[in-house]
Every structure is written in structure tokens, then in C-alpha cells.
């Protein structure tokens, strides 16, 4: 059931081209029903009826412990509902927002694959399966950021996002394998029940930092944050969905999911607090310097990601609860604000906050949604964001009455958040009307409906927190090791906490923020002038390292692949010679070789013919003769195969030889006359190399024949081939059954080779898109 719900997105992605045959609008609306039905499925099956903890398992690669294990607990459910819920809004929104885009079908394919793999991440219990889905989200994100692929900047940003998150993912894979080495388990549920074993292991720290390498790059923590603002090159619905509500939260998801295993370790808490805190504070400040609506939202998203990391680092039950509430609140208001930014862009043709104002006259519905979202972002009572901010302050206070740094960082980040909320959600709509070009217009009904719903959900959850309270409490216990029952059940959400220090802090933040906004005409120019020091802009390091990477790739290509076929062959043979002779002479006992074999008459005949043809290949003065002589060598090798009882091999060799000669003839037929360019010294060099390779191969083969294969192999295949594989030809049964996966890999490689030949010869630079 869960497996099917994950795969349905990928399945529909395969059908997109056919659905678009029905017409672009109906096609995109039908596709938009997919996230909606998944949302309802999760809501009714797990949200309302209490099916939580449902576990599902299919064999996938049992020999390595990699199986399709899926589990739906409260924590996963919250994510699944966010993914499909915001997904529904974004899918419908895009059908209008991108209505004129010629590549709308591609867009839906990418985003469907993304949604499916994101769901896969959050409900996988097996770490390797989760990792596979993790990589899928990186790839679909790459495709979506580079969606306007004709623009240099889009391609640059897409590459950057892929390289940063991709290299982080490699670290994550290594971390998963280390955890497997420590515990021998592949499932989160098992890993999370043995924190003592993990934390006392010598591999604990490497494993932890490697996992964090994956999580920090994905969730754009400093110093890996720079790819996220650049990812705003993607169409706005993508920014709302991937780069705010869901994908960038995958890192947060992972850190909390694995928290029970690392919980309590001082290194874990310190690393998360420090990196999260720095990201939270600096990103919030950077947000104030932006004038592009989407970039403001991108930096505030970064700031929230930092806050969530910090909360996991604080690690108390209250902090985990705050993390989950903040996460839900953020998905709702930030999703709304991004979609509003798209609507503004659509209606006015600009996203520059200095050029727009007083749009509420022209876009009244959008203005209402934006105001609600901005108030939630600023933490104004009675919106859901207010509850989130209260819990955040509570967690920060509880953790660190002594640790003023944490508290100060939280305070200032919250303050900047209030200002950014005003900049992005309030001022574009209120005050004096101004717009750059023609008169702005309201977005279409379907576009506004979506973000109005998310905006009002922020209000609803604020007024009636009981709706989510239970699930949040349960999710908190999902990500906290051995949460005492009394603590868990006491964690109810409420709008009103009474007159306490936290409330006054909230009000103080709000008042100060409004104060800054009042004097924005004077303050903003100053803020925009203050630049962060160089070392906080690691995107330069990225540029330098990619330049080095490309430079060294160019250098090795120049050395290894210089365009002369003879050099390739020399290099390949030299490598073969060195590696083979090294292992032959270093590790093997050459004395087992016996030089006395009974030789028959026909063997001598074949050997003589092969030698004569080989000499002819070298000596011939025309290409056709050389190819024909080479063909003779091949055919006689095939004869050897058939004599020694390898009919399959012989058969294949005959056909390959025939086809090779045909191919050669087709090419040679039209080449210019054969000329001998090579000097004597070259020939001598080639001769020595050829002789050495020949000698090594001879020794190798003598060694192989001297050490006979243990008979068990032959017996195993001989006995099981007919019973298991239903075939008497062992070679073929091995190819299509025992080792079918290898064969599949081989035919894929062959196919790529054919496409490579085609691409090399046929594709011209100016052909553009077409293949």
C-alpha cells in the first residue's frame, strides 16, 4: 500500500506524454489530481483513522539487507501530508502559471518524480532505500532548477545545486555504511534503538559527521548554503515546493529521524547548535539586503532551516516539539508567500520590492493571503506562526539561560524575520500604489485558491491547535529516544500561554521589528551597504574548486585522449601489461607452469595459419588486405574455441568477426589511400610493446590452465541449471538468469556506445534540442 503510494507518482510520470495528448489544460489538471488523491489517502488512512505505525516490507536485495521497508509513523505522516498537500497546491498553480511554457509536460514529469521520491525519503525505514530516493530528489531538483535551460545562469545554478547536494550525498552514503558496520542494521527503527552501542563505537564520530555532510548540504546549512539562493532560478512554483516547503527539509528530516541514535552525544548537539545558529542568524540578516522578492524568501527559508537545525541540536523534548511545529508553520506560510511572489511577478512583471507597492487595489485576494502568511511569519497572535515562535523562545530559554549566545541569535533572527515578513508580504500590497509597467491584474481563480487555502490553514491551526496537537506530540516521541510518557502526553499545543516572559519576548520582537519597518526609508540603505566578510561567502570556494576540477579534467583528457587512436591502444596495452605482470610476478607462483603439453597436428596447423595472417596484417600495403587478414586471425581463434568445447563462444566469435569485417569494409571503402607515416623508431617501440604483451598473455594463460577451476563450480551450475533455470545450456542460463543483472548492465552499456557513435558523427552544434 505504502510502496504503491510512493510509486504511483513515478508511474503517472511515465504517462504524462499520453495525458498531454488530451490537451495541455486537461492533461495538467488530471496530473494535479495525483498529489490530491495521495493527500486524501494519507489523511484518511493515517491521519483520521489511527493506522499509525503501519509497517510494510518487500524483499529488494535481501543478501545485503537492503529491502523495501516502509513505515508510516506520526513524524513521517506530517511530512507526507506537507509533501502531498503543498504539492496539490503547486501542481494546480503550475497548470496556470506555466500554461504558455512549451515544456509544461517535462515540468510535470520532473515534479512528479520529485514528489514520489520525496515521499520515498520520508516513509522509508531502510537507510539505503532512503538514500536512493534522496538522490532522486537531487536529480529532479537539478532538472527543475535548470528548467529554463537556455539561460546560462539557470544551468550554472542547476549544476551548483547538483554538485553540492550530490557530494554531500556521497558523504551520507558513507555515513550509512559506517552505521551499518557499527550496528549490523540497515533500518532506522533498529539503529534508533541502540544509541549506547553507536555512541560508544570508535566509528561514531566519522559516521555522525558523514551523515551531517549529507544533511547540511541538502538543507543548505552554512557553509553550504550558497546553492539555495541561486536555485531561485527555477520557476516560482518549484521554489515554493522544492526549495522551501519540502526538499530542503529532507536534511532536517534526516537529522531528526536519526536523532534517537545520536541523542545526548555532546558532539552531536554542539555541531548542530553551532552550524544551525550561525545559518539562522546570518541568513536572516542577508534577507534584509535583498530587493528581489524571491531572494528575500530564499534567505528567510535558509534562516528557518538554521533554526530547525538549532532546535534539533538543543535536543530537549520541548525543542523537538518546537521544531515540528515550526516546520509545519513554515511550510504553510512560506509556500503561500512564494506562490504570492509568483502571482505578483505574473501580474506586474517584476519582483523588485522597490518597484511595487499598494497592489491590494488590483490583487485583493492575493493581498489577503499574503497578509495572513506574513503575519504568521512574523509570529503575530493568533496565527500558527505565533505558537511556533513561542515554543522556539521557550526551548531557547530552557536550554540556555547561561548561554546568551544562543538566545541572542534566536532573538535577532526572529527580529529580522519580522522585518523580512513585512518586506515580502505586507509592503508590496499596502501604501501608495506603484508598479513598473502596465496595470497589474489579479491571478486566475485556480492560482489564488491554492495559496488562500494554505494561508487560512495557518490561521485555522493557530485558532484551533488541537487539530495538530496530538500528532505533534506523537511525532515528538518518534524522534526522541525513550520519551517519558508523562512528558509526551503533557505536550499539548495552546494559543495562550498566559502572561509570561516568553509572551513579552514575542511582543518585544514584534514591536522592534515594526519599528525598523517604520524607519525603513532611512535604515534600509544602511543595511544594504554593510557587506558580510569574505569568509562567509563560500560560493567563491565553490567556483575555484569547480574551475580546478574542470582544469584537471581537461588536462587528463589531453594526456589520455589526444585523438590519436594508436596512442589509445598503446596506453591501454601498457596499462594491461603493467598491472598484469605486476600481479603475476608479485603474487603468483610461476613454477606451476609446465611447458610439456601434448600437441596435435591440427593445433599446429591453426597456430601456423594465425601467425602467418598476423604477419600479413602488419606487412600488407592496403587496408582491405589487412582487414581480411585480421578476419582470418579471428575466425581461427573461433575454431580453437569450437575445438575446446566452447560452442557458444565460437558461435559468437564467428558472428562478431563477420560483422567487424563488414563494418571495416564499409569505412575503408571510402577512406583515402593507405599511407605509411610511422617512423622506424615508432615501429620498434610498438614491436617491443606487442611482444611483451604477447609474452605476458602467454604466461597468464599457461598459469590459468595449470590451476584448474575447482570442480564445485561446474558441478553447481551443471546440477542446478536445469532445475532452477529450466535450461540445459549452462552458458545461456548464466547469461539470462543467474547473472541477468550483469547482462542488463552490459546491454545498457552497448546501447550507450551505439548512441555515442551516433552523437559523435551526427550531432552538429547548431542542431539545438533535436536528436
Amino acid at each position: 500500500m505504502l510502496l504503491f503510494s510512493v510509486l504511483s507518482g513515478i508511474f503517472v510520470a511515465c504517462l504524462v506524454p499520453f495525458l498531454f495528448k488530451l490537451g495541455r489544460k486537461p492533461g495538467s489538471l488530471i496530473i494535479s489530481l495525483v498529489p490530491l488523491s495521495l493527500f486524501l489517502f494519507y489523511l484518511f488512512n493515517f491521519g483520521i483513522s489511527d493506522n499509525l505505525g503501519y509497517y510494510e516490507s518487500f524483499d529488494f536485495f535481501p543478501a545485503l539487507g537492503v529491502n523495501l521497508n516502509f513505515v508510516m509513523d506520526s513524524y513521517a505522516l506530517i511530512f507526507a501530508l506537507i509533501i502531498t498537500g503543498i504539492g496539490t497546491v503547486v501542481f494546480f498553480y503550475s497548470s496556470y502559471y506555466l500554461a504558455e511554457n512549451p515544456y509544461l509536460d517535462r515540468f510535470y514529469i520532473y515534479i512528479l518524480v520529485f514528489m514520489a521520491s520525496m515521499l520515498g525519503i520520508v516513509i522509508s525505514d531502510n537507510m539505503v532505500i532512503m538514500f536512493i530516493f534522496w538522490e532522486f530528489t537531487s536529480i529532479s531538483s537539478f532538472m527543475l532548477i535548470g528548467f529554463k535551460h537556455r539561460e546560462e545562469k539557470s544551468r550554472y545554478s542547476a549544476w551548483q545545486a547538483l554538485l553540492v547536494t550530490g557530494s554531500g550525498a556521497l558523504a551520507l552514503l558513507a555515513g550509512i555504511l559506517l552505521l551499518y558496520l557499527i550496528t549490523g542494521k540497515m533500518n532506522f527503527s533498529e539503529i534508533n534503538s541502540m544509541p549506547q552501542i553507536i555512541q560508544s563505537s570508535t566509528l561514531f564520530l566519522p559516521a555522525m559527521f558523514l551523515v551531517l555532510g549529507g544533511a547540511f548540504t541538502k538543507s543548505a546549512q552554512m557553509p553550504f548554503h550558497f546553492w539555495l539562493p541561486n536555485a531561485m532560478e527555477a520557476p516560482t512554483p518549484v521554489s515554493a515546493y522544492l526549495h522551501s516547503a519540502t526538499m530542503v527539509k529532507a536534511g532536517i528530516y534526516l537529522m531528526a529521524r536519526i536523532n534517537p541514535a545520536f541523542q545526548g552525544a555532546i558532539e552531536w548537539e554542539t555541531t548542530l547548535s553551532v552550524f544551525g545558529g550561525i545559518t539562522m542568524l546570518f541568513a536572516a540578516y542577508m534577507a534584509l539586503k535583498q530587493i528581489d522578492l524571491k531572494r528575500i524568501l530564499a534567505y528567510t527559508t535558509l534562516s528557518v532551516l538554521g533554526t530547525l537545525t538549532l532546535l534539533i541540536g538543543i535536543g530537549t523534548p520541548a525543542a523537538m516539539q518546537a521544531m515540528i511545529v515550526y516546520l509545519i508553520a513554515h511550510a504553510l506560510y512560506k509556500g503561500t508567500l512564494f506562490l504570492v511572489a509568483g502571482a505578483i511577478d505574473h501580474g506586474t512583471g517584476t519582483r523588485n520590492i522597490d518597484e511595487i507597492g499598494g497592489l491590494k487595489k488590483f490583487m485583493p485576494i492575493t493581498a489577503i493571503a499574503a497578509t495572513l502568511a506574513a503575519l504568521s511569519m512574523a509570529g503575530v497572535i493568533p496565527l500558527f506562526g505565533f505558537i511556533g515562535k513561542e515554543l522556539l523562545y521557550e526551548a531557547a530559554l530552557e536550554h540556555s539561560l547561561v548561554d546568551y549566545a544562543t538566545f541572542g541569535a534566536v532573538f535577532f533572527a526572529a527580529l529580522f524575520g519580522v522585518v523580512a515578513a513585512g518586506m515580502s508580504g505586507i509592503f508590496p500590497f499596502f501604501g501608495k500604489a506603484k508598479y513598473p509597467n502596465e496595470k497589474p491584474h489579479e491571478a486566475s481563480f485556480i492560482m489564488t485558491t491554492g495559496f488562500v487555502i494554505t494561508a487560512f490553514l495557518g490561521l485555522l491551526f493557530g485558532l484551533v491547535p488541537m487539530l495538530v496537537s496530538d500528532n505533534v506530540a506523537k511525532a515528538t516521541s518518534d524522534v526522541y529516544y525513550n520519551l517519558p510518557l508523562a512528558v509526551g502526553s503533557s505536550m499539548q499545543l495552546a494559543l495562550w500561554h498566559g502572561f509570561n516572559s516568553v509572551l513579552f519576548l514575542s511582543l518585544g520582537t514584534l514591536a522592534l521589528g515594526i519599528g525598523i519597518l517604520m524607519f525603513r526609508a532611512k535604515l534600509f540603505p544602511i543595511i544594504r551597504k554593510i557587506n558580510l566578510p569574505e569568509f562567509l561567502q563560500p560560493s567563491k570556494a565553490y567556483d575555484v574548486s569547480t574551475a580546478i576540477l574542470i582544469g584537471s579534467a581537461r588536462l587528463t583528457t589531453k594526456i589520455l585522449q589526444n585523438g590519436y587512436l594508436r596512442n589509445y591502444i598503446t596506453l591501454i596495452l601498457l596499462t594491461l601489461l603493467l598491472l598484469t605482470s605486476y600481479s603475476l610476478f608479485a603474487f603468483s607462483d610461476l613454477s606451476v607452469i609446465s611447458l610439456y603439453y601434448p600437441v596435435t597436428f591440427y593445433e599446429i596447423t591453426i597456430a601456423v595459419i594465425i601467425s602467418i595472417s598476423a604477419v600479413l596484417v602488419i606487412k600488407s600495403s592496403g587496408r582491405l588486405q589487412a582487414v581480411a587478414a585480421l578476419g582470418v586471425v579471428g575466425i581461427f581463434v573461433a575454431i580453437i574455441f569450437s575445438i575446446y568445447g566452447a560452442p557458444d563462444l565460437a558461435l559468437t566469435q564467428y558472428s562478431i568477426e563477420t560483422l567487424t569485417v563488414i563494418l571495416f569494409v564499409l569505412v575503408i571503402y571510402k577512406l583515402p589511400k593507405f599511407l605509411n607515416y610511422s617512423k622506424f623508431s615508432h615501429r620498434l617501440q610498438d614491436f617491443v610493446l606487442a611482444a611483451l604483451v604477447g609474452l605476458t598473455m602467454t604466461i597468464l594463460i599457461l598459469m590459468v590452465t595449470a590451476n584448474e577451476l575447482p570442480p564445485e563450480f561446474k558441478d553447481y551450475y551443471g546440477q542446478t541449471s536445469y532445475i532452477l533455470g529450466k535450461g540445459r545450456n549452462i552458458v545461456n542460463v548464466i547469461l539470462v538468469d543467474y547473472r541477468a543483472l550483469d547482462t542488463l548492465g552490459e546491454i545498457v552499456v552497448l546501447s550507450l556506445a551505439a548512441l555515442g557513435v551516433f552523437a559523435l558523427l551526427k550531432l552538429k552544434k547548431d542542431d539545438g534540442d533535436s536528436i
Partner: protein, 138 residues
């Protein structure tokens, strides 16, 4: 290079070679043969035809662009691996019919896999053959 003898011979050889390639494909499970060799033989048949009548004629005879053959073959191979999902077995678990079909004997997913290899090999060989012989046209 138009030779009446070669053309006439090819007209008779082509169907025989194709039939032979099928024969190799289907007998492969129990005796020497299989999808790879079968595919090579079939491709050689078309190569012969393109030598006798020219590449354009061979393309016309094939009717379908070789790239589609590659894609179809890979799809067959992939689907043959997924058949096992229906009984909740792992990818590529061989599944066989319980009874014998006339001429073929037992049918099973490895046979579909072999068919995939056969089609892929034809596609690859012909794609390379056609591309190269067109490119060198002066």
C-alpha cells in the same frame, strides 16, 4: 557496388538468415545459441542486404529506426525482470510457465530477457552500421 549475383542471392538469404537467427534465439536455452548470437546473425543479414542494395534500401526494409529497437529491447529486458514483482519476488527472479507450449516448450521471463538482448543487439549493430556508412559518404 551493384552485383546481380549478390542481390539475387541476398533476396533468398535474408529470410533464411532471419529464420536462422530466430532458431538460434529460441534454442539458446538448451543448446548453443541465444539472444546475443541470434541478434548478431539477424544484424548480419541486414548488413548483407545493405551491401547488396545500399543502406537506404536496407533502412526501408527495416522500416523502424534502430534506436527504437534499442529502446524496445531494453524495455523487454527490464519488464522481464519486473514480472517477478507480481508474486512479490525480488527483481529478476525467473518465472516459468507450468506447461509446455507447442514448438517453444516452456515459456518464461528469462526467454523474454533473451528476446530483449536479441532486439537490443540488432538495434545497436544496425545503428552503428547505418551511421558509419552514411557518414563516410563523401
Amino acid at each position: 557496388m551493384k552485383s546481380i549475383i549478390l542481390q539475387t542471392a541476398t533476396r533468398y538469404l535474408l529470410p533464411i538468415l532471419l529464420l536462422f537467427s530466430f532458431f538460434l534465439l529460441f534454442r539458446g536455452h538448451n543448446s548453443p545459441g541465444g539472444g546475443f548470437v541470434g541478434g548478431l546473425v539477424a544484424a548480419a543479414a541486414y548488413a548483407l542486404y545493405s551491401i547488396a542494395f545500399g543502406v537506404e534500401e536496407a533502412k526501408k526494409l527495416l522500416r523502424i529506426e534502430p534506436v527504437y529497437l534499442i529502446a524496445t529491447g531494453l524495455m523487454f529486458a527490464l519488464i522481464s525482470g519486473m514480472i517477478a514483482f507480481f508474486s512479490f519476488d525480488t527483481f529478476m527472479t525467473g518465472k516459468w510457465s507450468d506447461f509446455n507450449f507447442p514448438l517453444f516448450g516452456k515459456l518464461g521471463s528469462p526467454l523474454l530477457f533473451d528476446l530483449g538482448v536479441y532486439v537490443v543487439v540488432i538495434g545497436i549493430t544496425l545503428k552503428i552500421l547505418f551511421t558509419i556508412s552514411e557518414e563516410v559518404k563523401p
